[in-house]
């Protein structure tokens, strides 16, 4: 029984939150890795791309709410995703046309792309703040819990409760649905194979008649879709605030690099790895120990490896260690 209670505590405070946070990171990292595999640069603007995509989703949500649309128990935000994704896709294509294409044609060095993406980041950041403001926006509606802690306790008779938020389940399900789609697309469609071929050997792809324009367009559209889903799910699950999205950039980079830049499987793996480490390393295990250890062995401290404030630092730590010891990542991405 005690063992079960301890397991529930772990599930409630580590596994469930990490699964939903990890899904969000994985989606973000997929975007970064897609951009990297086709364009060969680390896109510093990706956090803000997610932010502006979410902003669009919020506007659509508000509009739908004003129309009296509701899909309870699910949040309307889900309905807003496709519309926002289209908007984001158009935005990214315009940016590519106005900004990146020039440097691609000029075969500019990699660092130029990074600097330019910093410029795009600043502009998107300013644009979002300008339009929706820097404040917090909550736009989740529908049922809050699938099962609340108290319901769980009643149901099982255990002393610990396991709360599962609707948004957590939705996050997990949507993320996996998208990932399944993406992997299917990349593996089994001609266009998907062409994207992989282009990423693998650009010159030979041109020699095979693969149109770089088409690859570029499809890639940005996939990035837009993943960024919109990632951003909206994060906003539904937690809260939308432009600055938070900028800050998400680093854990997302961490996930992409740890998994192996350019490898979609790696991005997913990296997302969950970063999420689990962030949460597991900063969790205070005192409560778990309370169930597992005999009375006399109870520790005085919180049994916390690092304070919660260092949550971000954990992912950066992992990032730096991986960069130094295995820059290709867990799953060998692109040699670069």
């Amino acid at each position: 029984m005690e063992l079960l209670n301890a397991a529930i505590v772990l599930a409630n405070f580590i596994v469930v939150p990490a699964l939903s946070y990890g899904s969000q990171l994985a989606l973000g990292a997929l975007g970064v890795t897609l951009i990297y595999s086709v364009f060969r640069f680390a896109d510093f603007a990706h956090g803000d791309t997610m932010s502006i995509a979410t902003m669009m989703a919020i506007f659509v949500t508000w509009w739908l709410q004003a129309q009296g649309v509701g899909i309870a128990p699910l949040p309307i935000g889900l309905l807003a995703i496709p519309v926002a994704a289209v908007g984001t896709g158009i935005l990214l294509l315009v940016i590519d046309r106005l900004v990146y294409r020039h440097y691609r044609r000029a075969r500019a060095p990699l660092i130029t792309f990074v600097i330019v993406s910093v410029g795009v980041m600043l502009m998107l950041n300013g644009l979002t703040r300008f339009i929706i403001g820097p404040g917090e926006q909550r736009f989740a509606d529908g049922a809050r819990f699938i099962i609340s802690a108290s319901e769980f306790k009643q149901l099982t008779g255990l002393r610990e409760g396991l709360a599962i938020k609707t948004t957590q389940v939705i996050t997990f399900a949507t993320a996996w649905a998208f990932m399944a789609f993406l992997f299917w697309f990349l593996k089994f469609t001609r266009t998907g194979t062409a994207i992989r071929a282009f990423s693998d050997n650009e010159e030979l792809a041109l020699l095979s008649g693969i149109s770089p324009k088409r690859v570029v367009t499809i890639c940005w559209l996939l990035v837009a879709l993943s960024a919109t889903i990632a951003g909206t799910l994060y906003g539904l699950d937690k809260v939308y605030k432009p600055f938070n999205y900028f800050q998400l950039l680093l854990p997302i980079f961490a996930a992409a690099v740890v998994g192996g830049m350019g490898s979609p499987t790696g991005a997913v793996l990296g997302g969950y790895l970063i999420a689990f480490s962030e949460i597991a390393i900063t969790y205070a295990y005192k409560r778990v120990a309370g169930y597992l250890l005999p009375e006399s062995w109870q520790p005085e401290g919180l049994l916390q490896l690092l304070f919660t404030d260092y949550k971000f630092a954990v992912s950066f730590g992992i990032l730096v260690v991986v960069l130094i010891f295995r820059p290709t990542g867990l799953i060998r991405g692109h040699p670069g």
Binding site: L207, S208, G209, S211
Partner: protein, 254 residues
């Protein structure tokens, strides 16, 4: 003098009866990377069913000449006519659509894709069913059929060359350009590759290749070009060049 247009050529053909329409005619190509010219005034041509071989010392601009024909470097002057259309300004993928195929010397496969995917990418522009074409490639290179779901990057050097050739053939090209197809393969495989190339030419495909093993390659060449320092030095049929004393001593090692 400017190169005559197609119409002019037709007129020339009828009025003088000696101007021959060439399948691929690259005339007086000049170009290179950046501001320096690597090739200067190079002219190359090949007919259907022929094998043209380009030889010459290192740095003679052999590969650059091939890339120029395929539109992978910027030309400063010169003209490329293929099937009597001026293709000098087309991007590479349009040339592929026109029936040209190119196998670079290095990085000529998609290592992270399976063999089957490599072949399907070769046929990217084809709208028809490619199953039959893939079967043909597997007949030509049986080992590829056996390992179709293996990643191309895991293959040996000779097998990679076969994948590279197979990918290029998937477009059913009318002109096949090969940059050192036997680089880094064993002598046994080399003979086999040469044999396959002759087979391919036998089906009416024009083949243009750069070869390091000049002696070997010139033996199967209908026309041979010796390039030196970015310029044409000798041109002639394979046997002629092999018989030429100067070519032999300077470029074939005696």
């Amino acid at each position: 003098m400017e190169t005559p247009s197609y119409d002019q050529k037709v007129i020339l053909l009828f009025s003088y009866g000696r101007y021959i329409l060439t399948f691929l005619a690259a005339t007086e190509l000049t170009g290179g990377y950046g501001s320096t010219n690597i090739i200067e005034d190079i002219s190359l041509s090949v007919e259907r069913g022929q094998i043209a071989v380009i030889v010459g010392p290192n740095g003679a601009g052999k590969s650059t000449a091939m890339k120029a024909i395929f539109g992978m470097i910027t030309l400063r002057s010169g003209q490329i006519c293929f099937k009597d259309k001026d293709i000098s300004r087309l991007p590479p993928q349009k040339r592929v659509a026109n029936g040209m195929a190119f196998v670079p010397q290095t990085r000529n496969i998609f290592p992270a894709l399976t063999i089957a995917e490599n072949l399907s990418m070769g046929a990217y522009l084809r709208k028809d069913n490619i199953t039959a074409a893939v079967q043909q490639i597997y007949e030509l290179f049986p080992i590829l059929g056996e390992r179709q779901n293996q990643l191309a990057g895991e293959l040996s050097g000779g097998q990679r060359q076969q994948v590279a050739l197979g990918r290029a053939l998937m477009t059913s090209p009318e002109l096949l350009m090969l940059d050192e197809p036997t680089a880094g393969v064993s002598p046994v495989v080399m003979d086999e590759v040469m044999e396959r190339i002759m087979e391919i030419a036998g089906t009416g495909v024009a083949v243009m290749m750069v070869e390091q093993n000049a002696r070997h390659a010139l033996q199967i060449a209908d026309i041979g070009y010796v390039l030196v320092q970015g310029r044409n030095r000798f041109t002639g049929s394979g046997p002629d060049l092999l018989a030429n004393r100067e070519v032999r001593t300077s470029f074939l090692g005696g």
